[in-house]
Symmetry: C2
Subunit: 390 residues, 2 copies
């Protein structure tokens, strides 16, 4: 099965409904989805008769390596622009030559200035901005994509196990984030698709904490880690675990909020129950907001009401955040083949911006099926998964 060709066919078929006879795909990630090419600065032109990848001399060899359909009869033609012409200029020429009249463009990707530029380059064409032109297709994964994501999850888990096995009490958040990135690469990742979040103790109360060079692991009783991995094809994993530190601080080194606060086990149990409640609702046909509601109900029905301050999850694939949206105000409905994160959390910050108790988040990557779900993450959800050489 040539999934790349299938994707282009579906897109071409959708053009009529958008009132267009051609499409210009400019977002790199969407060009990747439709051709396999993982570089940038290249556009895909689609007309009912032809698909043309417009790239430049820097990328020619990489295109030939990565794109199985380039060069085949009837599949994707390659147009290598000279380095003194711009990609929009070259793409406009290809569209004009193909006689395109109404060209769908990506409303959520193309900037106001880029659209203005295209209007100047092909004044006779009608440009039709369409939201989610390619993203709508990408929300539902085909089997090859699910396998890529599964591979990314495996790499992310392997890297995390190396990380957890090699922790030292004196490692700062920054040390740990750097080390995690290295282990992920060693496990086969291209690097981190987003900077890992590594938060010690009360700093876990910030859902988007930047790793600090001043906070060592030994100064908190818990560790929140949110990290990803990326396979060669560009697919991502996104996982969070909250661990009981293998190096419990002596009472004198605990900050007063941790000492005075809740037991980690108590908070963790509520987040785990919230995740289980959400997972139990997942299946094709369910509105995404109901999955969020299931988790939120558990947390808001506990003594931690109001402490779950973000949405439950998001689609994942070629991007770390993509369709569908899994949150309170989402209008998306789950379909079989969607891959989403399920990541409830409880955050207990301090008052007036001071240090608080901290936070707990558990995040897994999950495939929606007709009758339920398949968890792609296989890491234990045990609080002490770290082990860690104490």
């Amino acid at each position: 099965m040539n999934f790349l060709a299938l994707r282009r066919q579906t897109l071409t078929r959708n053009l009529k409904a958008a009132g267009a006879d051609a499409a210009l795909v400019t977002a790199s990630v969407n060009v990747t989805y439709l051709t396999g090419f993982t570089g940038d600065s290249s556009y895909l032109v689609l007309t009912p008769k032809a698909a043309v990848l417009v790239t430049d001399p820097r990328y020619e060899a990489q295109v030939l390596e990565e794109c199985p359909d380039v060069g085949r009869d009837g599949a994707v033609d390659l147009h290598v622009r000279p380095h003194n012409r711009t990609t929009p200029e070259a793409a406009a020429e290809v569209l004009t030559k193909a006689g395109a009249r109404a060209v769908a463009v990506e409303a959520s990707r193309l900037t106001v200035a880029e659209l203005e530029g295209l209007r100047g380059l092909a004044p006779k064409a009608e440009w039709v901005p369409v939201k989610g032109l390619v993203e709508a297709l990408r929300a539902v994964k085909d089997p090859s994509e699910v396998e890529h994501i599964r591979a990314a999850v495996k790499v992310a888990e392997r890297g995390f196990r190396m990380f957890a096995a090699t922790l030292r009490e004196a490692d700062t958040e920054k040390d740990m984030a750097d080390a995690l990135d290295g282990w992920l690469r060693r496990a086969g990742s291209r690097g981190s698709p987003f900077p890992p979040i590594v938060a010690v103790g009360d700093r876990g109360a910030r859902p988007h904490a930047v790793p600090s060079p001043d906070r060592p692991l030994g100064e908190g009783s818990k560790l929140l880690v949110d990290w990803g991995a990326e396979t060669a094809g560009g697919y991502k994993a996104d996982i969070t675990r909250t661990l009981k530190s293998p190096f419990l601080p002596t009472p004198s080194r605990r900050n007063k909020f941790e000492r005075a606060g809740y037991e980690l086990e108590e908070v963790y149990a509520v987040v785990l129950a919230a995740q289980d409640a959400a997972l139990a609702t997942i299946r094709a046909g369910v509105p995404a907001r109901e999955v969020d509601a299931a988790a939120r109900q558990v947390i808001d029905g506990s003594k931690f009401a109001g402490c779950f301050t973000h949405g439950l999850g998001h689609g994942i694939g070629l991007e770390v955040h993509e369709a569908p949206r899994v949150r309170e105000n989402s209008d998306d409905v789950l379909e079989a083949g969607m891959v989403i994160t399920v990541e409830p959390g409880i955050y207990i910050p301090g008052e007036d911006g001071g240090p608080g108790w901290g936070g707990v988040r558990i995040e897994d990557d999950v495939l929606v099926t007709r009758d339920g779900h398949t968890r792609l993450t296989t890491l234990s959800r045990d609080l002490s998964v770290a082990g860690g050489g104490s």
Copy 2:
């Protein structure tokens, strides 16, 4: 000197010329430039009377840490939106309350769909797309920015020295790219602002080569490395060095193109001469295209005519690529305070996409001054800078 306040003042002063009485800055990097906040999903609203940073609860603590002007009288007000409202909704409210009528927006950043959304949220406002609203200011660095870039260069160089000192013959391009990233972090970088290019032997002919897990250092006679670093404030360095491999391959392991081709020293000398020619032209008032021409003339006047297949350089700062453009078709003119890369190269690919001789590129970061330039890079341009434990 409060440079952040100065930048906001300059922008506010420029609004009139654009026919606007307010501005909505949506690009994260431009919000960073104007406030110091390095997170995302936050907008800056500027009116003649007030500056308001619109963010969400995840980022409140980080904003208070990073932005010296937030909370001060008369500087930047903080608006933390509730998590069930979007940033555009919150920003539109702030603008409407401030009585803004004509709002400048970033034409090269805002997508077509985002502009459409804003129109719906504040139908009475006039939205004025302006190209380079903030980027035009960013092209000329103030003294604090030059110091940040200098610090990033220092980190990039320190990381590279560690890398070069620890090379092994068996390391593949992927191993080396991963190791370089780790050393850069150890040297103080936040990570790599772009994936390092590490190309062995003939693979250097691809200006944007993706590091291969199958090509060890010992199988080429030269190594091209293009890497960056990023300091805490978000400023970047971007350097390239081409090295003679400390592990020269035995003749039987050299590929035939390397064996049959030019001497590395010969190609290198032409690129070095091209860089020197370009550097000699740099000073305030010179059209950027003349700097490109000076380097290109040296290469095109040699036996390697036509082998310099990209522009000479680009501005660098909060982004790896920013204004000015230093290339053949640039209309930019150098000003004192601009920081640019100067990176001539010679690329000799194989025929029909096969392996070729390879490539040489030398890239330094340079501050434009009234009378000439200051090279911020201090690494030797010696071919054998690697050393490397042979």
